[in-house]
């Protein structure tokens, strides 16, 4: 157990170091200059730009040698300082992320978890029930292959504009001020529902198809046949098939959860919903080094944590992993 965790943690630390270094380097090797982009649309007085350009560049430390910038970056990282955003100057990157990420989490965590649970159940059901399978599979394939952008726009058009049941923009009404009270929470849920529903539905199909195929495979495998020949009940066989079939689904879930930060970009565009995905897109287009590297840092941390979690969960749900490290096998 200790050996297993120790080895894993070591690998994760090395991965973290390289990922963060790449994260720092890539924005800086893009052609272009963030300060010029910041000022590109500013039409000031004659000669006004030259005066401020140098000053602003220096205030971000971008006039320093690259290597120095790199070490400074690690230095401030350990102090929890991700720098100042250029695009939403002068907001600290940490603040930008903190304020936006809550919207991604509230939208993505429920949609991913629920679609995973419901998708697995429906998939498992389809896998063992040939009659239902005939009707559910086309539906799952439709959900999983419909382009999300198109799907969401259609939903917005019908349920937001034609039948004006739901609002079509933002996370709460234009006239609402956020607060901890019933009216706001209801208003928030009203806005949250359509983005949630579309995300839930498009993910549902994929999980269901995956589970269905796994169940069919497991039910046809040798151990199932062996159990059958021993006279085990259908229910018991199904239970074991499900336990084996869910393993790759858990990995998939962790990866999906790890990508939570930028995962809702399209939703944020179609529903004009706040969140980090759209901010990251803007940051990249505006070459906001600090915001890009800060956001990717979070993505790196989330993905690594999610994978680490899977490694631990696997020890419990897959005895083979546990035994291979404890030397029992």
């Amino acid at each position: 157990m200790k050996k297993y965790l120790g080895k894993k943690i070591f690998i994760y630390l090395i991965t973290f170091f390289f990922a963060v270094t790449i994260d720092w380097a890539i924005p800086r090797f893009m052609p272009g200059d963030p300060i010029q982009i910041l000022l590109s649309r500013f039409q000031g007085m004659e000669g006004g730009r030259e005066i401020i350009e140098a000053q602003i560049t220096a205030s971000f430390g971008l006039d320093r040698p690259l290597l120095e910038q790199y070490f400074n970056f690690w230095g401030s990282l350990f102090k929890g300082d991700l720098g100042i955003s250029i695009y939403t100057f002068p907001k600290p990157v940490m603040e930008v992320i903190n304020e936006a990420i809550i919207f991604d989490i509230l939208l993505l965590v429920p949609s991913i978890l629920l679609s995973w649970i419901v998708g697995n159940k429906l998939g498992a059901f389809s896998g063992v029930n040939k009659k239902a399978d005939k009707y559910t599979m086309p539906f799952f394939y439709f959900l999983t292959s419909s382009p999300y952008f198109w799907f969401a726009v259609v939903v917005v058009f019908f349920f937001g504009v034609q039948l004006p049941w739901f609002p079509i923009n933002s996370a709460y009404s234009s006239t609402m001020r956020p607060g901890f009270n019933l009216a706001f929470i209801l208003d928030f849920l009203h806005h949250w529902f359509l983005p949630f529903l579309t995300l839930f539905l498009v993910q549902l199909g994929g999980w269901a198809i995956g589970m269905r195929n796994m169940i069919i495979y497991e039910m046809g495998s040798n151990y199932s046949k062996y159990m059958e020949s021993l006279g085990a009940s259908e229910k018991l066989i199904r239970k074991y098939a499900f336990r084996n079939g869910v393993l790759p689904q858990v990995t998939g879930l962790a990866i999906r959860l790890g990508n939570i930060i930028a995962g809702a970009l399209t939703t944020q565009i179609v529903f004009s919903y706040p969140g980090l995905g759209y901010i990251l897109l803007k940051a990249i287009l505006n070459q906001d080094y600090f915001l890009v590297q800060g956001t990717f840092l979070f993505i790196v941390i989330f993905v690594l944590l999610a994978n680490f979690l899977v490694d631990i969960i696997y020890m419990f749900i897959d005895p083979r992993v546990r035994f291979s490290y404890s030397g029992e096998v």
Binding site: M30, P31, G32, Q36, I37, L38, L39, S40, R41, F42, Q43, G44, M45, E46, G47, G48, R49, E50, I51, I52, E53, Q55, S59, T88, F89, P90, E99, A100, V153, V156, F157, G160, V161, I168, N169, S170, A171, Y172, S173, S174, T175, M176, P178, F180, N181, L182, A183, I185, I269, V270, S272, Y273, P274, G275, Y278, I279, K282, L285, N286, Q287
Partner: protein
């Protein structure tokens, strides 16, 4: 334990229900969008390129407002301003104006706003190369003394573009903060104050003690909610649902749906929108055939801007005149004769003839014209990726060029790469309009399309063509130091127009619009061609053209 949970849940529920929700009354609130592109973060009037729209205009005010449609100055913080001698300008300020923290606004504030740029590097520090002193003669009188050649034209811009700062706050700040402060709780003299912010909105609340209430009237909306809307389809849907009172987005399809959904636009019919700036095709005059004047002029004749206006913009824009001038402030210098003599209009035969005569013929018979030496020519026209109207436009332009045998391909790099190519001079042709916004004087436009800031490693101040003509630059500088009453000014401006047309370093194509669609579910009496109460523009730095005036004249619906 179970009971405890129930009690806790009950208390929570009671708390939830009893906590009053705070919401703005919809019929007291104006919901608008188009000038905000991300979570609000900056209210610093010294960094106008980064400020939340409304920082200038709603909070910090200007000495004058400028009405571009009438070419008139409306005294604002100043009651009067005049040249008492050719080198002395005196301002009489209004009495009784207060900052929102209760302190009085005085001449000292105006003096400080200038002085702070003398001692620190700010975007308007250059005024001190032609101003010698700014002094307070009394609490309401300011005298500005100029050096040998006052920049009269630029001064006209400063009068309506300089945000006046409260001395008692900014003089206490460390100069290091001037460019870096977010200035979260801005204290101004204006009709609105910061109320709250969200990820996708900025909310302003009316300053009921505003000094202008007695003079101009009180703005009707108590709250202004400025939304970030990610994408045209959402803005369009919100207009159809009347959830957006004013949209300053460019939205394709507006001409088709405007009547069905009761949208108001400035003009009832085409072009619907007021012209706001001119979109130009910049030709890199340091490259190949584009070094040749006759080649550049031939290209101007080859482009069909009518087709762009019609097909791409559904006639929401108008085709530019050859000089690229727009608005009363510029058009008073427009020289029709010069335009007739040196101007251009769509005529592919003329374009082909000009190319033939100047030796740009198809030497190798591959169907494309070659340069004078017989080498193949190929150009790339760039606009930023995602700017769909411009993307479609350059496809048409490339086709127009193809029709006369010029090989040009449209290309859509990301915005940062687009800017990079323009600034380091590796582009061939590009569309741009960043410095051509309407103003009080064509100096701002000419000094942007043609100036001598082209020798550095990168070119950032306009003149992306890198067109080098010292004589033209001198003419523009001479215009800058002329007063409008100067007898020679017409001659000077005609000369500038003639030179630009003869050399054609950039080709004026169409006037990008002041995109504005208004709905009347909550507010009516919008400013339009037939009821010009103001200027329907909520974009940053442009509110002094008549946005506050528009708000004052609004009427609640019903």
């Amino acid at each position: 334990m179970k009971i405890h949970w129930k009690v806790l849940l009950g208390v929570l529920l009671v708390l939830l229900v009893s906590t009053m929700a705070f919401s703005y009354e919809r019929d007291e609130t104006l919901v608008y969008g188009g000038g905000l592109w991300g979570a609000p973060a900056n209210w610093n009037p010294l960094t106008p390129w980064a400020e939340v729209a409304g920082t200038g205009g709603l909070v910090y005010e200007y000495l004058f407002h400028y009405y571009p449609l009438k070419d008139e100055y409306q005294p604002w913080l100043a009651e009067k301003g005049e040249w008492v001698t050719p080198k002395v300008y005196e301002l009489e300020l209004r009495k009784g104006i207060k900052w929102t923290d209760g302190k009085s606004f005085t001449a000292e504030d105006v003096v400080f706003t200038f002085e702070v740029a003398r001692n620190n590097a700010l975007h308007y520090s250059n005024v001190w190369t032609w101003i010698t002193s700014v002094e307070a003669l009394s609490p309401t009188k300011v005298r500005v003394t100029f050096g040998d050649s006052p920049h009269y034209q630029e001064w006209k811009v400063i009068l309506y573009d300089l945000r006046i700062l409260p001395k008692h706050i900014w003089s206490e700040m460390s100069p290091d903060e001037y460019l870096t402060t977010a200035n979260k709780n801005p204290v101004g003299t204006g009709p609105y104050m910061s109320e709250s912010t969200g990820q996708d909105r900025m909310v302003w609340v009316r300053n009921d003690d505003w000094w202008g209430n007695d003079i101009f009237g009180q703005p009707k909306p108590k709250y202004l909610v400025n939304l970030v809307v990610n994408g045209n389809n959402v803005a369009l849907g919100m207009l159809m649902k009347r959830e957006l009172d004013l949209s300053n987005y460019f939205i394709p399809g507006v001409p088709k749906i405007k009547d069905a959904f009761g949208l108001t636009t400035w003009f009832k019919d085409a072009p619907y929108m007021l012209p706001e700036n001119v979109a130009l095709l910049f030709l890199n005059t340091t490259k190949g055939a584009m070094k040749d004047e006759s080649f550049r002029r031939a290209l101007a004749f080859a482009i069909d801007p009518d087709m762009i206006a019609e097909r791409v913009f559904e006639n929401q824009v108008k085709v530019a005149n050859p000089a690229g001038l727009l608005g009363e402030g510029w058009m008073k210098y427009y020289d029709e004769e010069v335009a007739n003599e040196y101007g251009f209009s769509y005529n592919p035969e003329t374009a082909a003839k000009m190319l033939d005569e100047n030796g740009f013929v198809d030497a190798d018979g591959d169907g494309w014209r070659d340069d004078k030496a017989g080498n193949a020519m190929k150009f790339e026209i760039i606009v930023p990726n995602g700017w769909t109207d411009w993307m479609e436009s350059i496809k048409i332009i490339a086709n127009n060029f193809k029709a006369i045998g010029i090989n040009a391909v449209p290309s859509f790099p990301d915005y940062s790469i687009y800017m990079d190519k323009i600034q380091d001079g590796t582009f061939d042709m590009c569309i741009n309009n960043f410095g051509s916004s309407r103003s009080t004087t064509p100096f701002t436009y000419w000094n942007w399309v043609a100036n001598d800031e082209i020798d550095g490693e990168i070119v950032t101040d306009g003149n992306y063509s890198r067109y080098n003509d010292a004589e033209l630059f001198t003419l523009i500088d001479e215009f800058n130091v002329m007063q409008d009453s100067n007898n020679g000014i017409m001659e000077k401006t005609s000369e500038i127009q003639a030179k630009l047309l003869q050399a054609m370093p950039s080709i004026p194509l169409w006037y990008n619009g002041l995109w504005a669609q208004m709905t009347s579910g909550v507010w009516t009496n919008w400013t339009t061609e037939n009821n010009p109460t103001g200027y329907p523009c909520s974009w940053a730095g442009k509110m002094q053209f008549g946005f506050v005036e528009t708000l004052i004249k609004l009427e609640p619906a019903q």
